[in-house]
């Protein structure tokens, strides 16, 4: 065996892997990691202006970790974008800002508040009002403004029956809509990224991951997450069968009483429609056990937005949702 060119390697002034991102090589779901990294590289090579959609949730955190790993030691060759409803959890904003700061990322914030202020969307009213659906308009406007031609998302096929149908590279027409009846065939892993001006692609490198794969990967690699994923005490109110956190857009209605409960979040979305689950899981390994034993899906347990109808996700996706 020939000796490697050590002289050349010593030129590298490599920074140690970021502590927040952990070590990808330790992942227990290695094949899924390789598949995801390959998709991220391929879409980046084939498209001109990709962007990574980052919500601060666990799936987008894994996606970001893998995107950085796909291009290390070079810089991430695209920005990340947060579609901000202004109703996210404070812990998630903190997490986002510290990651951006630590990793030197380019962050684009697409603001739902701005869409409301400029009249692009009309804020829902009433006790069940949510900015969740408004995000689609803000997202599509931002994609058009920045001329993004591909948006990476952390969506997984095991999340929801409409997502279970989606391609890894999913075409969006000029209106941003998804037509589930006319999806492009996707043989093998040969990805077709051809689009016309004004159209764009959504890329889902984590399509084949399950919730348990995500947690098992997080536990084995040491990826840091927002603190609300772990058990903590919180003032909540029980509404529509879900435990909603008091604060931000959620205030007590007549007849409701709040109480303090030990909870954690299985998904991270808008405070107005993301429910907490009762849990004592304070560390990631306990969460892996809890997820393995779960008998209710994560969205079923925590998302009021999906409970509105049996095709809620499909309907939102047709409008351009994540």
């Amino acid at each position: 065996m020939n000796a490697p060119d050590n002289a050349r390697i010593s030129l590298l002034n490599r920074t140690t892997p970021s502590s927040s991102l952990g070590q990808v090589s330790r992942s227990t779901v290695g094949e899924l990691v390789d598949e995801a990294i390959s998709i991220i590289r391929e879409v980046t090579a084939e498209c001109e202006q990709p962007v990574l959609l980052f919500s601060g949730g666990k799936d987008s955190a894994v996606l970001l970790q893998l995107a950085i790993a796909a291009f290390a030691p070079a810089r991430l060759p695209f920005p990340i974008m947060h579609v901000d409803t202004a109703h996210n959890f404070p812990e998630v904003y903190e997490y986002r800002d510290s990651l951006v700061d630590e990793l030197g990322l380019r962050l684009v914030v697409a603001s739902v508040q701005e869409s409301i202020d400029t009249g692009r969307v009309v804020e829902e009213t009433g006790p069940r009002a949510s900015r969740n659906r408004l995000q689609s308009v803000t997202l599509l406007d931002a994609i058009a403004t920045h001329k993004f031609d591909a948006a990476f998302g952390g969506g997984r096929r095991d999340e929801d029956r409409a997502r279970a149908k989606e391609r890894i590279l999913s075409f969006r027409d000029a209106t941003g809509g998804w037509d589930p009846r006319r999806q492009r065939p996707e043989p093998w892993d040969v990805l077709n990224a051809r689009i016309r001006k004004g159209e764009h692609l959504r890329a889902f490198p984590l399509s084949n991951w399950t919730e348990l794969d995500i947690w098992s990967h997080i536990a084995s690699t040491g990826l840091q997450l927002p603190s609300i994923y772990f058990a903590h005490q919180r003032e909540v109110v029980k509404r529509d069968g879900m435990l909603l956190s008091i604060g931000g857009p959620v205030t007590l209605e007549a007849g409701e009483t709040s109480f303090v409960e030990t909870v954690r979040y299985r998904t991270v979305g808008d405070m107005s429609c993301t429910g907490a689950v009762r849990s004592d899981a304070v560390d990631v390994h306990t969460i892996v056990d809890e997820v393995a034993a779960a008998r209710i899906t994560e969205r079923g347990a925590t998302r009021a937005d999906d409970a509105t109808s049996e095709s809620a996700m499909e309907d939102r996706k047709r409008e351009g949702y994540f």
Partner: protein
């Protein structure tokens, strides 16, 4: 409904990828639903949702197919339009299940499902027997190179568990399979997806059947191990550069074999030789990499290796020269027919360009006869010759699947119109 824990976080091996195939109404979605139900991998809220939908779209009896028919149009029409992916695990193994549509008009979606499958489960309705669509799907699964075919002869309960019915269908389909250009090992199982016989639990109705249940077989099935003695090949997807440290690495997914630090390699098509100075995966250094891993490689010498280039370990079995002409078996998936002389985009691994088509023949999937034709219509299977504007380092699909396949893209719509396998 009571359920028990059966997901095991320690199951760490790569998931087995399975796709269903077969005619419409042969029970593909019901079979998947049964598999999920009997392995207790359906969550309570999903069960509740299927129960609600069963009342809305049916007679109220629990409809297993509604577990995978997730689109509104599918639930309304009671058919599968596009592939649904489902994930489940038993204590022995993790699985990715792709449930394919049976309708002829959605054959392209079945191609999508079967292309990434290790195992194809071909369903046959025991009462109606083998249909042209059964043969088409079987042909496609075999053509796409699945390594195992399981024929599940379904609705056996409706025949009164008649062994003769089973034997006749099995014989007919096995004869068909044996006459296909590409053979895959085949197992035939009598089942009732509706009632669960021989899916997870062995049936009381088939004392004459001595083989495994479907789940037993899937749990113990060992796909042919990837050949680590095969020569390694890295099709460069992207060049990683850090200008401040003058760092440059070629990134891609390793195909075939393994690559070690210090290995002698050639960069193609330039033919320049060098050695491997550094291997990384996920930003961390490796001493050696194996097929399937997404890695980056630093070469010892300052040689250009950019997207479209290929880094190969020294070996006689790699193509040394690129070709601009390939003969392929193709499944045509666009509404617009493919005609002699048509020009399209192609994509092979990391290379794209123009392809000019010359049609060799069309295969009649019933008789398996090759017929001379002027055009391939939607869902036709045939053989075409492609003249390429860009040279590619091709292998035959049989030698190395990853570099023996390409897609054809329609100019006018940008849709993926053809799945082609190099002969």
């Amino acid at each position: 409904m009571t359920t028990t824990l059966n997901l095991t976080p320690t199951v760490a091996t790569a998931p087995l990828r399975i796709a269903t195939a077969g005619s419409v109404d042969d029970g593909k979605s019901t079979l998947i639903g049964r598999l999920l139900h009997d392995t207790k991998t359906i969550m309570e809220d999903q069960l509740a949702s299927v129960e609600r939908a069963s009342h809305r779209y049916g007679d109220g009896s629990f409809n297993l197919a509604l577990l995978t028919d997730g689109l509104r149009a599918e639930r309304e029409q009671g058919i599968t339009i596009d592939v649904a992916y489902r994930y489940f695990a038993t204590p022995r193994r993790r699985f990715i299940l792709a449930d394919s549509p049976g309708h002829v008009q959605y054959t392209r979606n079945m191609v999508t499902a079967a292309s990434s499958a290790d195992v194809a489960i071909v369903l046959v309705d025991a009462v109606r027997g083998i249909s042209p669509q059964t043969r088409r799907h079987t042909y496609i699964a075999s053509m796409l190179g699945v390594s195992q075919i399981v024929v599940a002869i379904n609705k056996m309960d409706a025949t009164g568990w008649d062994r003769e019915v089973f034997d006749n269908i099995a014989k007919e389909l096995n004869e068909y399979l044996a006459s296909l250009p590409r053979q895959a090992p085949t197992l035939t199982i009598p089942v009732s997806a509706l009632h669960g016989d021989n899916i997870v639990d062995a049936s009381q109705h088939t004392p004459w059947y001595h083989g495994p249940t479907l789940l037993d077989f899937l749990e113990s099935y060992a796909p042919a191990p990837s050949n680590l003695a095969a020569p390694a090949r890295l099709d460069v997807q992207w060049t990683l550069r850090d200008y401040t440290t003058n760092f440059r690495a070629a990134a891609g997914r390793l195909i075939g074999g393994s690559l070690q630090l210090g290995d002698a390699v050639t960069v193609l098509p330039s033919g320049q030789r060098t050695t491997v100075a550094r291997i990384e995966r996920g930003g961390e250094e490796l001493a050696h990499a194996v097929a399937g891993q997404s890695i980056s490689v630093v070469l010892a010498d300052d040689i250009d290796a950019a997207r479209g280039d290929v880094i190969v370990a020294h070996s006689d079995s790699h193509p040394k020269t690129a070709t601009q002409s390939v003969v392929t078996d193709v499944c045509w998936m666009a509404e617009t027919p493919l005609r002699e002389g048509d020009r399209l985009w192609f994509k092979h691994s990391t290379r794209s360009g123009r392809a000019t088509v010359s049609i060799v023949h069309r295969i009649d999937v019933d008789t398996l006869k090759a017929e001379p034709v002027q055009a391939l219509e939607l869902n036709d299977l045939g053989r075409i010759e492609l003249a390429l504007s860009e040279p590619i380092l091709a292998t035959s699909f049989a030698d190395q699947p990853e570099t023996g396949r390409l897609i054809l893209i329609d100019d006018r719509t940008n849709t993926t119109a053809g799945a082609a396998l190099i002969v």
